[in-house]
């Protein structure tokens, strides 16, 4: 990914520039960039004088920027790797991790599809085109029709990272704008399969998902994602250099507040359970 600035949010009126509030830079995960931008917009609305710049590039880029000291907040859809922690130590950076939201993806099937459960290996096979017939995963003898999201969506990227291990989607995957359209297509297609944000499904059924063959299959729900039992889910993090102080602390506490979490929900992320959000706040 190019280390190009995606968005420079906001040039406030000259007056507030003169008053010169704090400048905060946020950089990192492309999954989180939409949420970061929305948070920045909302936060700047109520805190005039604060200028927040949000850019993407990927979790790796964000972490690198944090280690170089070129960003205040690093957004990441994964934890830092051991190597990165070690590098941070060498550079005298003390990564401080805060979970800011959750992300979960459901797999949709047609209501009449006899298949009820799928594991990660099967899902990967289906979406990379290695498995093309439902009978290979215990269903009818029929071609699997793949539906997915457009390649700019965070959902697309998440599913690709977590389930496909970064392999390409099969070229026969039909991409539709929005989870609602995917759900709709699957509801009308007896051999369809789709994925998208949870809490969307009407007219389709959820596939219960198990990670390995021996794990218990779990149906997707906000609760299961919050509880951490549903396998296609993950924490989304903000990393700081050391415990955040001042404006940074205000910002992260606001993001974790019910107000901030509501913003997260409005752009299709799963909000943190209230206790976890409360516990994450910095005193």
């Amino acid at each position: 990914m190019k280390k190009v600035l995606i968005t420079t949010l906001l040039v406030f009126a000259a007056a507030s520039m003169v008053l010169a509030g704090s400048n905060i830079t946020i950089k990192g995960s492309d999954t989180l960039i939409r949420l970061g931008q929305r948070w920045a917009e909302e936060y700047m609305k109520v805190n005039k004088g604060v200028v927040i710049q949000v850019s993407g590039g990927g979790s790796g880029t964000g972490i690198a920027a944090l280690l170089n000291g070129s960003t205040d907040i690093c957004e990441a859809s994964r934890d830092m790797k051991e190597k990165e922690y070690k590098l941070a130590e060498e550079k005298g950076i003390k990564p401080f991790r805060v979970s800011v939201a959750l992300d979960g993806i459901a797999v949709f099937l047609h209501e009449k599809n006899p298949v009820a459960e799928l594991n990660f290996a099967q899902l990967k096979g289906i979406y990379t085109g290695a498995i093309t017939n439902w009978k290979e995963v215990g269903g009818n003898d029929a071609r699997i029709i793949l539906y997915g999201r457009e390649n700019n969506s965070g959902t697309y990227a998440f599913f690709k990272e977590e389930v496909l291990n970064e392999e390409d989607y099969d070229e026969y995957t039909q991409t539709l704008p929005g989870t609602a359209a995917v759900v709709n297509a699957v509801s009308k297609d007896p051999n369809g399969i789709g994925y998208g944000g949870i809490a969307w499904a009407t007219g389709v059924k959820y596939a219960a998902i198990r990670k390995g063959e021996k794990d218990t299959a779990i149906l997707p729900s906000v609760k299961a994602v919050s509880a951490g039992t549903y396998p296609i889910s993950r924490d989304l993090y903000w990393f700081f250099n050391g415990k955040p102080e001042g404006e940074l602390r205000k910002l992260v506490n606001w993001a974790l507040s019910p107000e901030g979490q509501k913003v997260a929900e409005s752009v299709d992320y799963v909000p943190l359970p209230a206790e976890q959000a409360q516990a994450g706040m910095i005193k």
């Binding site: 190019k2 190009v4 590039g57 390649n151 690709k160 039909q174 991409t175 539709l176 704008p177 009308k188």
Partner: protein, 319 residues
Amino acid sequence: MKQLEFKPKSKVREFLGEKLIALNAYAALIAILLIFVFIFKEAVPIFTDASVQEEASLDKLINKQEYYEGREAKWSWQPNSEVPKFSLYPLVIGTIKAALVAMLFAIPLGVGAAVYSSEFAPKRMREIIKPAIELLAAIPSVVLGFFALMVLATFLQNVLGLTFRLNALNAGIALGLAVIPVVFTVAEDAMTSVPQSLRNAAIALGANPWQISLTMVLPAAVPGISAGVVLGFGRAVGETMIVLMASGNAAIISASFLDSVRTFSATIAAELAEVVFGGTHYTVLFFIGSLLFVFTFLINLAGDIVLARLKTRLQGKPS
């Protein structure tokens, strides 16, 4: 009756008014020019920027690539990948397939309706048909797309027993609905502008209405009809929302019209919004935009030239 007088003062006003109107006309021209420049400027890195060329040189946009060592070379559109793949070939196929179906659907219907409306329909009927078909052009394309996604796709799948609900046929028919008014309007205009004197001559020779329309009016209006077809084709290629919703958007290389297709316009619409500003993917999308721009510009130009020629010919002016 009092004569209108122009005082010197109003001459100034007249001058200003005239310039203002001229400015309005130029504004549109300048806007188009600026858009033209902007789109091309954003696409230029494909030819100049080494880091963009690494992933998307002209060679990579056009020719088969061996993306992974040891695996078969292929054309592939997978812009968000560990190995980004920017082959335009699947998109060209998709665009042509969808537009072709649209034209096959829209030409007979549009031209047929135009023949009926201009030659056979009683005056009252004609006054209903014309606005009704032109109203089709007023339906927002997102509505047509949604109709194709929800209703038409299911209908076609049930009737034809299709594997893929969303495919070139489905998108093409919906596109055709958007193209019909273009073909109809231009073709109808061309036929009605065939001079009455020609018709009278045919009647005098004892031709019946069927002979008049088939052997005289239709051939005389052919350039106009082809202009309508060309303009309709331009619409079919440029139309975005309908194909985005009804085609399934899978970038596949196949000859079957029952497979899903991904078109140029839908690709831009789907991907541009969240692409990294100034990055390779961004540049490629603008390159696609430039291609579309040039293509539809040429098509519209060709259509207009044909129409203008037809007018001078039918009015008997020396060309």
